[in-house]
Amino acid sequence: MPESLFGIPTQAFLGQLLLGLVNGSFYAMLSLGLAVIFGLLGIVNFAHGALYMLGAYAAWFSLEKFGLGYWWALAIAPLAVGALGVLIERTLLKRLYRLDPLYGLLLTFGLALVAEGVLRDQFGVSGQSYPVPEALAGATDLGFMVLPNYRAWVVLASLSVCLGTWFLIEKTQLGALLRAGTENPALVQAFGVNVPVMVMLTYAAGAALAALAGVLAAPIIQVTPLMGSNLIIVVFAVVVIGGMGSILGSVLTGLALGLIEGLTKVLYPEASSVVVFVIMAAVLMVRPAGLFGKEK
């Protein structure tokens, strides 16, 4: 192994790439949820970032107030945020299904503002730190780099969740119903499937997925009310680049863009916050429907 790559110490270089992969896993999980929700509900869920943020806060809150640790949070946060998702879908979103999707975007934008504003009022804008669980603390020396265990866990966990979701949607009976519901809800309803409940649970599942990503992220980044809105815009760009048609496509796009971002941070740090948007512009010029999208 060489001492340095591109003039940067190998250890630092690989560290940045790993960080990029970690970010990419979050992009993948969030854009996956966005795509599934959009497919069935026809709503681009701007609140997805806020749900991710709420997941992280749920983890922090259950540790602070009830002393429930990380492993509990992995279950509690998705359940709580999923329940909130049920509430949102039942009371608000279901009134919008026959309208232009733009209204769904605007309503969920309003929801995101409310969630962010309430948490800012309660906890301020400064970050809360969340400890890395003991079992995953420390690092493993791989010889060519020192791998922080927690980061490896995040990548593995979110990849398994993404693949699990893919399997559920593409290979199971339930997934077949979901896909059929995306194509033609009236027909699926006529076959005796309770489509409104299916739609509700889909939104809840998307919300839970976002919350799970939030819990995974909590020990790595500062938990702040703003963490969701900063992320959701990048995820929108990821979704535009990948196209919302394919699940594996959005997972791959998310991971690849995270890696590219990490690489840019090493080679040309000034551009790292805009590189995803530049790629989006380039992809739009060449393939307007996105890399995995279907041309109309």
Partner: protein, 336 residues
Amino acid sequence: MTSPPATPTAAGQAPRPAPAAPHAERPARIARGVVLALLLVAPFIGLYPVFMMKALCFAIFACAFNLLIGYTGLLSFGHAAFLGSAAYATGWLARSAGWSPELAVLAGTLLAAALGLVIGLIAIRRTGIYFAMVTLAMAQMVYFVCLQMPFTGGEDGLQGVPRGALFGLLPLADDRVMYYLVLALFVAVFLFVQRIVHSPYGQVLKAIRENEPRAISLGYDVDRYKLLAFVLSTTLAGLAGALKTVVLGFATLSDVHWSLSGEVILMTLLGGMGTFTGPVIGAFTIVGLQNFLADQVGSWVQVIIGVTFIACVLAFRQGVVGEAVAWQARRRRRAG
């Protein structure tokens, strides 16, 4: 050029503004006259001039935005980028380069137009919900560029921009002179938007909004029309930003932030998309609300804005003016 027949049947339920009468009806005309008179005497009846100027700048911004969502059916979620970049450019030119205010404002506005052309070329490759996401992402890119550029002052923003003298003659430091300049420009923009919408070009825009495939099949180069509408809208948004910097004397990151892009949507939605006066009413309401609430409730302003958003989408999609027009139409129908 003949305008294609208006088609009332859009695919699905597009964001449908109230059908605006081609010419304002009598009550509406009277109301406009009263409002204009009020605006003209505002500095003499104790209305805080800086607040009025700020609200007028945002009214210009909302009118510009409305040209796009209300008459072309394109939801831009990144309009703050144009307001903000013009605000920074004007501020820097007036302060550090020592340009006169009229040239600085002109340059800022032109910058927004150029930026609108570039972003428009990319964004119009997608429609509907994707258009919104693309504009949001491109605007976020502009935000990051503004955050990192040395001359924007980063987190502190650009402070202490002098107002100077218009054409070297009129001292803009006098709030009244500044106010009448802003008012004149606002009236000009208002009439300009009205003129555009009623022109044959505006009719084509509305045809695109109602049914894009049909407009294409009638032989219109839809992309070119949309791009021009986008650039017109961003240019006016730039004018709003440039003026705002001269009025307030600073440009900050909140001028390019996505939350401002959201606010201009709310202003237009609240007042009534696709109505001429709606965005103006919306802008005054939101700016007034923010000014008033900031003292009262502090950080709950964002929550209140969010709740207003939700309420508008659920129950009030035509906005104040749209609902008023619909109510009047219902009353007239009942009267026979």
